[in-house]
Structures are given as structure tokens and as C-alpha cells.
């Protein structure tokens, strides 16, 4: 199984819940967005309150939590996107 090191970016409430702005993690390259989220919840159980609201952004494109593989590449940026409130 190939693994890749990716950079996870936390914003807004997700940064407060994890106490982190960013961290590097190693995950299977064919992981799905839902599996990746579950992995992050295991690392940071307080993130679970965001489960029904969060989406990811992979290489700066939105990805909902679902069963589709992310095809991660080494060094990819994965952002945790709580509900937006710009404007």
C-alpha cells in the first residue's frame, strides 16, 4: 500500500478544537475523504462536533466527506473547512 505524507491545514473552529494550525500526517494515497476525516477524528476526538458540517479542500478544491478516493500525492495540502462565514 502506497502512503504519502500530506500537510493538513486547520481553520477557524477546527483549529481551535485541535489546537493546531497545521500538521503533517502520513496516509494511504488511495484513502477516501471520509476515511481521512475519520483518521483525523481519531487523532483529535474533539473534531467530532464538526462531522456533519465539515468539508475538505484538497489541492485547493472542495471535496465533501464521501467514499471517493482522494488520489493524494506526496506533499499535498488538505484543508479542513468548517462552515464558511466570509463577507
Amino acid at each position: 500500500m502506497n502512503t504519502e505524507q500530506v500537510s493538513v491545514l486547520y481553520f477557524a473552529k477546527s483549529a481551535e478544537l485541535t489546537g493546531l494550525k497545521a500538521e503533517n500526517i502520513t496516509v494511504p494515497s488511495n484513502i477516501t475523504s471520509l476515511q481521512l476525516w475519520q483518521d483525523l477524528e481519531t487523532r483529535h476526538p474533539r473534531l467530532s462536533v464538526l462531522r456533519d458540517q465539515v468539508v475538505l479542500a484538497v489541492r485547493q478544491e472542495y471535496v465533501p466527506l464521501c467514499a471517493q478516493p482522494l488520489s493524494l500525492r506526496e506533499g499535498d495540502e488538505v484543508a479542513i473547512i468548517p462552515p464558511l462565514s466570509g463577507g
Binding site: F11, A57, A79, I81, P82, P83, G86, G87
Partner: protein, 146 residues
Amino acid sequence: MAADQGQDLITLTTDKLSADGVSESVTCPSCGAISLFIGTTRDNFEGKKVIRLEYEAYIPMAESELRKICSDIRTKWPSVRHICIQHRLGVVPVTEASVIIGISSPHRSESLEAVKYGIDTLKATVPIWKKEIYESGQPCWKENKE
């Protein structure tokens, strides 16, 4: 007119925003209309007194989503000339602007409609977050309803 190509001006900044600055940046001699939307910080939320807002952004993706909005506007309203979208980050005191969108067009309906589309879409798609800081009680990360 090559010399008068439409410009997309996108700024994320911790500096104070200026309506005149945005308006001047989209002014052009062949346009008769400039529409501006200014989002300002409100002093209350559900009876709680708001002291200030704090904004944070996923900056490179926010810029890329803002560029998509400009591109969508040009598809929907081809006569739109210049588009300027400025969003303030960091602390924004009550009554100051958090966002200004300015759009110029030869006639008024295009820029009016495009500004409305721009702010609606910005709130729905651009990775920016605001936290409200109250006089008393815990700060709260907001969520755009629409």
C-alpha cells in the same frame, strides 16, 4: 479595446478598506455605472453586544475562489468592465467594512446584478471565517446561512 481590458482586482488585507479606493479602481471612461456592496460589522447578534469581528482565510484558496467568481461574472454579464473584491482579515471593529465589491459596467443593471451575485457567491464559496467577539460570553465562529 485592448487598452481598456477588464481587470479583476482581488485583495485580502488586514488594512482598513475604502469605498473610494474600490470605486476609483473600477472607474473607467466607457462605463456609466459603478455598483458597490460594503459589508460592515454589526454591533449585535441575538441580543448580545458585538465588540469586534476577527476574520481568517485560507488565503491562496480564497484568492482562487474569488478569481472564479470574477470569471463567472464575466460569463454571465459580458459587458461588465472592472471587478474589485477586497476582503479584510484579522480584527474588524464595529461599523468598519469587512468586504467591498465594486463593479463597473456601461449600463447600470449589469453592475447591480453582478454585485449581488458576487456577494452571494462569496459568502457561499470563499474559504473565509469570522468569529464574533462579544462584550460578555464566549466568542463564536459564525456560519453563513444562505
